[in-house]
C-alpha cells in the first residue's frame, strides 16, 4: 500500500513536474513576449475575455475614431471581446465624457482624454501604474514633453498618450514661387505675404474661425513675443501690449482671408484649402496630411508645403484612460495596449494621418518617405506649449474664445477685452487655487 502509494505519488509527481515546468516555461515565454510586445497572446486572452463587451469613447474626427473601428475586429479576434466605439465631435466630447465621469454612470470603459482635461478628469480615472509595471509597458517610447503632459497629472499616470499634433501653416509652394517668396518666419511676414498672395479667388490668410481654434491662432502670435500666459502664481500676463499686439496681428490678416472665415469649422477650411482657395492656412496637420497629397481629393497635390507656426504653437495631445467606474479594467488595459502599440501607431499614421506620440513613428523611414513633413511636425510638437490643464480649463477657454471673437471679428476694444478675460480667469482661479506653479514647459 505504501509502495503503491509511493509509486503513484512518484508518477503523479513526475507528471505534475512536467506539466508545471511546461506551464512555467510557457508562462515565461508568454511573459517575455508580453513584455517585449505591447500586446498579449490571443489564445490566452481569448479564453479570458470571451463574450465581454468594451465601450470606448473617442473624438469623432475621421482619425482617432476610425482607427479604433479599424482594430476593433482584430481586438475581438485576439480577446474574444467585442468593442463598441462611441464617438462625439470635439465640441461635445468633453461634456459627454465629463458628465459620465462626474455622475459615475460608467457608460465607457476607455475614454480618449484631451490633455487639457487631465486635471478635471483625474479624480475619476483609474491610475495605471500597476498595469504599466505588471506588463513592462514601455513609457520611454513617447516624445518626452508629450509623455510629461498627456495622461500624467499630480504624480499619477492616468492615461497613455495615443495621439498628438502641433499646428502648422500649409502654404502653396507654386504661389510662393511665382511671387518670389520664402515661407514666413514671423507672423508679421505671414500678414505681409497674405496681402501679396491675395489675388482673384485665392486668399492669402486663413484659420479656423469658429469654436476653440481662434485661441490657438492668437496664442501663437502672443507666444511669438516670448511671454508666458501667466506668471508662476497663475496671474494672467496677457492683458498687456503683447496680448493686444497678437490681436492686432489677427485683425490685420482678416482683409486677406475669405469673408466668411470667422464662421468656418475645420472641414470647411480643409475644403477651401484642398480646392485651391487658400495660399496660407493655419491647420492641424493630422487632419490634412493624408488627403492633401491625394490627387483624387486635392487640387493642390504636389503644390504645398508645411512649416511650423512662427511662434510656439499650442500642443494637442490625447491619452487613453480608464474611468474608475469601469468593471473591465483589465480588458480596457488590453485595448489601450493594442491601440497604442508601435505597429498600430505606424498603421494609423499611414491610413488616417494620426500624429503618433511615439518618437519611433516620426523617425520611421517608410513614413518619412511618404510624409516628408514629419521632421518639421516632430520639431513643432517638441517646441509646442501646453494650455491650461487644471479643472477650470473649460470655463477659462470658453471666456477666451468668446471674448476673442468679440475683439478680433467685431469692434470690442482689445485691451478692455483682455482685461475682462484676465478678471474672469482670476475669479475662476480663486474658486480652487492651483497647488502647483504655472509653467509652459
Amino acid at each position: 500500500m505504501t509502495r503503491k502509494d509511493n509509486s503513484r505519488k512518484t508518477t503523479f509527481s513526475r507528471r505534475t513536474v512536467v506539466k508545471g515546468a511546461s506551464a512555467v516555461a510557457g508562462s515565461a515565454a508568454l511573459a517575455g513576449k508580453m513584455a517585449s510586445s505591447t500586446f498579449a497572446a490571443p489564445a490566452i486572452l481569448g479564453a479570458r475575455f470571451q463574450g465581454e463587451e468594451l465601450t470606448v469613447l473617442y473624438m469623432e474626427s475621421g482619425t482617432y475614431d476610425e482607427a479604433a473601428r479599424l482594430i476593433a475586429p482584430e481586438f475581438q479576434e485576439a480577446t474574444g471581446a467585442t468593442v463598441n466605439v462611441v464617438a462625439f465631435p470635439y465640441q461635445n466630447l468633453h461634456d459627454n465624457a465629463a458628465t459620465d465621469l462626474v455622475t459615475q454612470t460608467g457608460a465607457y470603459d476607455v475614454i480618449d482624454v484631451a490633455y487639457q482635461w487631465d486635471g478635471e478628469f483625474s479624480p475619476f480615472l483609474s491610475p495605471l501604474e500597476d498595469l504599466i509595471e505588471r506588463d513592462g509597458y514601455d513609457m520611454s517610447a513617447f516624445i518626452p514633453n508629450v509623455a510629461a503632459l498627456s495622461g500624467f497629472w499630480d504624480g499619477q499616470q492616468n492615461g497613455i498618450p495615443n495621439a498628438n499634433d502641433a499646428r502648422g501653416i500649409v502654404y502653396r509652394t507654386d504661389l510662393f514661387e511665382e511671387a518670389g517668396l520664402e515661407p514666413p518666419t514671423t507672423w508679421q511676414e505671414y500678414n505681409d505675404f497674405a496681402e501679396i498672395l491675395t489675388q482673384g479667388d485665392v486668399f492669402g490668410a486663413s484659420w479656423v474661425g469658429l469654436g476653440e481654434q481662434l485661441q490657438g491662432s492668437w496664442l501663437s502670435r502672443y507666444w511669438e513675443q516670448d511671454v508666458p500666459l501667466c506668471d508662476v502664481d497663475w496671474s494672467p500676463l496677457f492683458n498687456s501690449p503683447e496680448g493686444v499686439h497678437a490681436i492686432e496681428l489677427l485683425r490685420q490678416a482678416l482683409p486677406f482671408a475669405p469673408a466668411g472665415m470667422p464662421g468656418w469649422d475645420i472641414p470647411t477650411q480643409k475644403n477651401a484649402l484642398l480646392t485651391g482657395q487658400l495660399a496660407q492656412a493655419e491647420v492641424w496637420p493630422s487632419f490634412i496630411l493624408a488627403d492633401a497629397r491625394d490627387p483624387e481629393k486635392s487640387d493642390i497635390a504636389g503644390k504645398w508645403g508645411l512649416i511650423p507656426f512662427p511662434g510656439p504653437g499650442e500642443l494637442s495631445a490625447w491619452n487613453l484612460a480608464i474611468p474608475g467606474t469601469s468593471q473591465k479594467r483589465d480588458l480596457a488595459w488590453e485595448w489601450i495596449k493594442m491601440y497604442t502599440s508601435p505597429e498600430n501607431a505606424k498603421r494609423f499614421a499611414l491610413e488616417f494621418g494620426v500624429g503618433s506620440p511615439q518618437v519611433a513613428t516620426w523617425e520611421d523611414p517608410e513614413l518619412v518617405e511618404q510624409f516628408p513633413e514629419y521632421p518639421t511636425i516632430l520639431e513643432a510638437i517638441k517646441a509646442s506649449r501646453p494650455i491650461w490643464r487644471i479643472p477650470q480649463f473649460p470655463a477659462a477657454w470658453d471666456v477666451l474664445q468668446k471674448q476673442l471673437e468679440l475683439t478680433v471679428y467685431q469692434d470690442a476694444d482689445a485691451q478692455e477685452t483682455l482685461d475682462h478675460i484676465a478678471d474672469e480667469w482670476n475669479s475662476l482661479l480663486e474658486q480652487d487655487p492651483p497647488t502647483t506653479e504655472y509653467t509652459e514647459g
Partner: protein, 299 residues
C-alpha cells in the same frame, strides 16, 4: 333630493378607491417634478462644483442669484432669449394663421399640401441644425439664391445681427407647421351660422375674417402662442449645432447658459439659480397669457 344625498354618500364611500387610483400618478409627479424642483432650489444656495470632489459644498445664501443676475453673459442670454421667443412666435402665428386659412379646406389636394407642410416639424433639431448650417454657409444654397436675385451674400455666422436672424428663420421654418395644425383644426371646427349671417349682411372677406374668424380663433391663438413661446425659449439643440451661441454671445440663449454652467463647468449652484430665475419668469409670463385667454374666452 334623497337621490342626490345618496349619490353624495356613495361618492364619499368611493373616496378610498379614487385615492388609490390617484396615488401612483401623484407619487410619480412628486418624484419626477416636485422633488427635483425643490432639490434644485436647495442647490441654488450652495457653491458646489461636481467635478471637484476636493471641494465641499458651501452654503452661500442668495449669492448665486446675485452673481447670476449681475453676470453680463446671463443678461445678454436673457435678452437674446426674449428676442428669439417673441420674434419667432409672432412670425409663426402670423404665417401659420395665413397658411391655415389657405389650407383649411376639404379635398385630397389640401390633405397632401398639409402633410408636406408638416415635414419640418417632424425632423429632429440636430438634423435641422446641420441642414441649415450647410444651407446658410458662405457658398450655401441660400446665399446662391440671394446672389442671383441681386441681394448679395449674407455672412450668417459672422455678423451678429444676421446670426440671430438666421437662427430665428430656422425656428420659424421648423415650427410654423405646429401652429398650422392647431389653427387648421380650430378653423375647421368653427360654427357655420355666423358666416351665413355675415354673408346675408353682405360682409366682405376681410370683415368676415376681422369680426368673426379672428375673435373666435383668439383663445386658440393665445394658447398656441403660449405653448410655442414656452417651447421656443427652451431652444437648445438647433442653435448649439448652428452657431454654438456665437459669434461672441450673439445667439447665446438661457438654456445654453444653464447647460454650460451645469454640464460643462459643473457649477451646479450657479446653474440651479439661473434655472430658478428662468422658471419664475416663464411662470409669470404664462400666467399673464392664461389670464388674457380667460378674458378673451369670457368676451
Amino acid at each position: 333630493m334623497r337621490t342626490t344625498h345618496r349619490s353624495r354618500l356613495s361618492r364619499i364611500g368611493d373616496m378610498p378607491t379614487y385615492i388609490l387610483f390617484l396615488v401612483p400618478a401623484v407619487v410619480f409627479l412628486i418624484m419626477t417634478t416636485l422633488y427635483p424642483l425643490v432639490y434644485t432650489f436647495r442647490l441654488s444656495f450652495y457653491d458646489w462644483f461636481l467635478n471637484r470632489p476636493n471641494l465641499d459644498p458651501k452654503w452661500v445664501g442668495w449669492d448665486n442669484y446675485i452673481e447670476t443676475l449681475s453676470d453680463a453673459v446671463f443678461r445678454r442670454s436673457a435678452l437674446n432669449t426674449a428676442i428669439f421667443g417673441i420674434g419667432t412666435v409672432a412670425a409663426q402665428l402670423i404665417i401659420g394663421l395665413c397658411l391655415a386659412l389657405a389650407v383649411a379646406r376639404e379635398g385630397m389636394g389640401m390633405r397632401v399640401v398639409r402633410s408636406i407642410l408638416l415635414i419640418p416639424m417632424i425632423m429632429t433639431p440636430v438634423v435641422v441644425g446641420v441642414l441649415w448650417r450647410i444651407l446658410l454657409s458662405d457658398n450655401g444654397l441660400v446665399n446662391y439664391l440671394l446672389d442671383i436675385t441681386g441681394i448679395g451674400t449674407i455672412l450668417w455666422f459672422v455678423d451678429p445681427k444676421w446670426a440671430m436672424i438666421g437662427v430665428m428663420l430656422v425656428d420659424i421654418w421648423q415650427w410654423t407647421p405646429f401652429v398650422l395644425i392647431i389653427l387648421t383644426a380650430a378653423i375647421t371646427a368653427l360654427p357655420s351660422d355666423p358666416y351665413r349671417a355675415a354673408q346675408i349682411d353682405g360682409a366682405s372677406r376681410w370683415q368676415t375674417f376681422r369680426y368673426i374668424t379672428l375673435p373666435m380663433l383668439w383663445p386658440v391663438i393665445l394658447v398656441t402662442g403660449l405653448l410655442r413661446f414656452m417651447d421656443a425659449i427652451k431652444v437648445f439643440d438647433t442653435i448649439y449645432v448652428l452657431t454654438g451661441g456665437g459669434p461672441g454671445y450673439a445667439t447665446e440663449m438661457l438654456s445654453s447658459y444653464i447647460y454650460k454652467e451645469g454640464l460643462r463647468y459643473f457649477d451646479i449652484g450657479s446653474a440651479a439659480s439661473a434655472s430658478w430665475i428662468f422658471l419664475v419668469v416663464v411662470v409669470a409670463l404664462s400666467l399673464v397669457v392664461i389670464r388674457a385667454r380667460a378674458r378673451a374666452a369670457e368676451s
